[in-house]
Amino acid sequence: MIRAEGLIARYGDRVVLDGLDFRIAKGELVGLLGPNGSGKTTLLNCLSKVVPLHGGRVAVSGRDLSEYSSAELARVEASVPQQLDISFPFTCIEVVLMGRYPHQQGFGTDSEEDLDTAMESMRLTDSLDLAKRPITEISGGEAQRVIIARALAQRAQVMLLDEATANLDVAHKTEMFDLFLEKNRQGTTFVCAMHDLNLAALYCQRLVFLKHGRIAVDGSTVDTFTEETLSSIYETEVRIIQHPDTGAPQAMFVPGQRASSGQM
C-alpha cells in the first residue's frame, strides 16, 4: 500500500528524516513511536505530500506520490492532525463535510450522499449531537472526535493519524481505537503516530520506532515491545508486564532515575 525508499526530509539545513526504507501492506495497523523530535509528524506529512521530499521516493498503491493531484491523494489518504487551529465558528457538521471535498467536482455542493456519509462518520465517533454547535465553542476532546469524523468521511483506504486520540478521555480513547480496529478489519490501513506506548501495544500489530530521523526498530509488537528496546529508545528504564485480560505487553516506567543516574 505504502512504499518508501531512501526517504529524506529537511527543514533548511536540519535533516529530520535521514533515509527511511519501509513498506506498509494493505490492511496493516502500524504504530509509529519514538521520542519527541524523532520525526514522526514529519514522516506522516511526507506521506500526505505536505512536506516535500529532499530525496528518495514514496509510492502509494504502486503510484508515485508526485503523480497524484491533491484531490486524488485525499481520496486515498485521510489525515488526522495533532491539533486544530481554527478561528472561525464553522459548525461541526460543516467541518465534517469538508472531508467530502475531494469527492466533489467543480462548484461542488453537498449532495444527499455527502450529508449521509458525514452524519454516519459523526455517529461512529460519538459526535453527532455536536453537529450544529460551532467548533470554536466545544472542548479539545470533542473537536478531536469531529476531526476524526472528518477523516472517516473522506472514505480513504489509508488513515494517517498524528496523536489523534491524545486529547481524549480514557473511555473515548479506547472507543476510538476499537473503531479503528473495526475499520482496519474491513481493510483500511492505519499509520498512527503516538506517545501512549501502552495504547499502541494494545492495538497495533506492528510497531515502527523512529529515533534521530532513522528507523531504529521495526517489527511485530510481540518482538519489539521489550524492556531492552524501549529502554534504549526512550533512554529511561522500562519494565514490561502483561495486560491482565488480553495478555498484551504493557510498559511500566521506573521513577527516580534522574537522581540515581547521577546526572544532577
Partner: protein
C-alpha cells in the same frame, strides 16, 4: 424508551431538517434583502438638497431607465435624479458590496478575523496611484469623461498586490504570516510617500484628503461602468472558490490533506479580492471599516461558511455604504459634503467595539 439506534436516526433526521430549514431561512433572507436594497436605492435617490417631489422622482427614474416615454419630466429633475443621484447611489452600493466581500475573503485567506481589504496594502497602492495623479495635475484630464485618476488607482492597486505577493514568497510558497508582514511594509511605505506628496504639494492637499478619506462626490455612471467589469470578475473568482476558502481557514497543512490545491486557490482568491478592492478604491477612494465590520456582523448572523458569508456581506456592505453616503451628502448644513469614509469610521468604530464586547470566548486575537 427509544433504543440507541432509534435515537441516532432521530438525531440525524433532526439535523437534516435543521439544515433544510436554515437553507430556507437564508433564501428568504436574501429575498428580503433584495427588496430592501431596491427600496433603499429608490429612497436614497429622493433624498438631497434639491427638494424633488416623490412623484417626479419616480417618473424621472422611469424615464431614465427607459420604462416611460421621453419628455414626461422636466430636464433639471431628470438630470438630478437619474444622472447625478441614481448613479451615485448605485455606485455606493456596488463599492460597499465589493468591500464587504473582499473583507470576508481577506479574513479567510489570512485566517484572521481582524484583516480587511487594506491589510495587505492593495488599498494603499490604489490611494498612492490616485494621489500621484492628483499631484501631477492629471486630475483634470479626461478620457471618455472619466479622468485618469481611476486608471492610476487601479494600476497602483495591482502593482502593490504584485509586490506584496513577491515579498511574501518564501521558498516559492506564499505564507500568510509573511504575506501580512509584506502588506504592512508596503502599506506603510506608500502612506509615507502619500504624506510626502502632501507636504510637497500644498495646493493638492484638499483633493488628496478627500481621496484618502473616500468620497463619492462628483461620481457618475461612467464610474459605475468603469468599475463594474473588475467587480464582476473579482466576484466570480472569489465566489467560485468559496468552498476551498472554507477549508483554507483550517490552515495550509489540513487544506492540502483535504485535497485543496492550496497555491492555485489562494492565488485566485487573492487576485479576486484584490480586484474587488481595486474596483472599489479606484472610484471612491479609501473607505474604511466596511470591509472589517460587515463580514464580522454577517458571520454572527449566518455562520462562517464563505458562500453565504460573501453573498450576505455583499448586500449588507452595499446597504451600509449606500446609507452612509446619504448621510455624508446631507449631514452638514449649507451643502458641504463630508468624505463618506468619515461617516463609516464614525459609525463603524463604535459598532465594531460593540461586536467585540458581545463576543463570547477570546477567538478574535489568534
Amino acid at each position: 424508551m427509544l433504543s440507541k439506534a432509534d435515537q441516532v436516526s432521530k438525531t440525524a433526521g433532526e439535523i437534516q431538517f435543521q439544515l433544510a430549514a436554515s437553507k430556507r431561512i437564508f433564501v428568504l433572507g436574501l429575498l428580503f434583502l433584495t427588496v430592501v436594497s431596491i427600496l433603499s436605492v429608490l429612497a436614497a435617490t429622493g433624498i438631497g438638497r434639491l427638494q424633488i417631489p416623490w412623484k417626479t422622482v419616480v417618473s424621472a427614474l422611469g424615464e431614465g431607465l427607459g420604462l416611460v416615454h421621453f419628455g414626461t419630466v422636466e430636464r433639471t429633475p431628470l438630470v438630478v435624479v437619474f444622472d447625478i443621484r441614481l448613479s451615485r447611489v448605485v455606485l455606493s452600493f456596488l463599492v460597499g458590496s465589493a468591500l464587504g466581500v473582499a473583507g470576508a475573503v481577506f479574513q479567510g485567506i489570512l485566517r484572521n478575523p481582524l484583516a480587511d481589504p487594506f491589510t495587505i496594502g492593495v488599498a494603499s497602492g490604489a490611494a498612492f496611484g490616485a494621489v500621484l495623479a492628483i499631484a501631477l495635475g492629471l486630475g483634470s484630464g479626461s478620457y471618455f469623461g472619466l479622468g485618469i485618476i481611476p486608471f492610476l488607482a487601479l494600476l497602483g492597486a495591482l502593482i502593490a498586490l504584485a509586490s506584496v505577493v513577491m515579498l511574501g514568497r518564501v521558498q516559492g510558497r506564499l505564507r500568510r504570516d509573511t504575506l501580512v508582514l509584506a502588506g504592512i511594509v508596503v502599506a506603510t511605505f506608500l502612506s509615507a510617500l502619500i504624506a510626502l506628496i502632501k507636504a510637497l504639494d500644498e495646493e493638492a492637499v484638499s483633493a488628496i484628503v478627500f481621496w484618502v478619506m473616500g468620497s463619492f462626490q462628483g461620481r457618475g455612471w461612467i464610474h459605475v461602468w468603469f468599475s463594474l467589469p473588475y467587480l464582476l470578475l473579482g466576484l466570480y473568482l472569489v465566489m467560485s472558490r468559496a468552498r476551498e476558502l472554507d477549508i483554507l481557514t483550517l490552515g495550509e497543512v489540513q487544506a492540502r490533506q483535504l485535497g485543496v490545491e492550496v497555491e492555485r486557490v489562494r492565488r485566485t482568491l487573492l487576485v479576486g479580492a484584490s480586484l474587488l478592492t481595486a474596483a472599489a478604491v479606484s472610484v471612491s477612494g479609501v473607505i474604511g471599516f466596511v470591509g472589517l465590520v460587515v463580514p464580522h456582523l454577517v458571520r454572527m448572523l449566518v455562520g462562517a461558511a464563505h458562500g453565504r458569508l460573501m453573498v450576505m456581506s455583499a448586500f449588507l456592505g452595499g446597504l451600509g455604504l449606500l446609507w452612509s453616503d446619504v448621510v455624508a451628502r446631507i449631514l452638514l448644513p449649507g451643502g458641504e459634503e463630508l468624505p463618506v469614509g468619515v461617516v463609516t469610521a464614525l459609525v463603524g468604530g463604535p459598532f465594531f467595539c460593540l461586536l467585540l464586547k458581545r463576543r463570547r470566548g477570546g477567538v478574535i486575537l489568534d
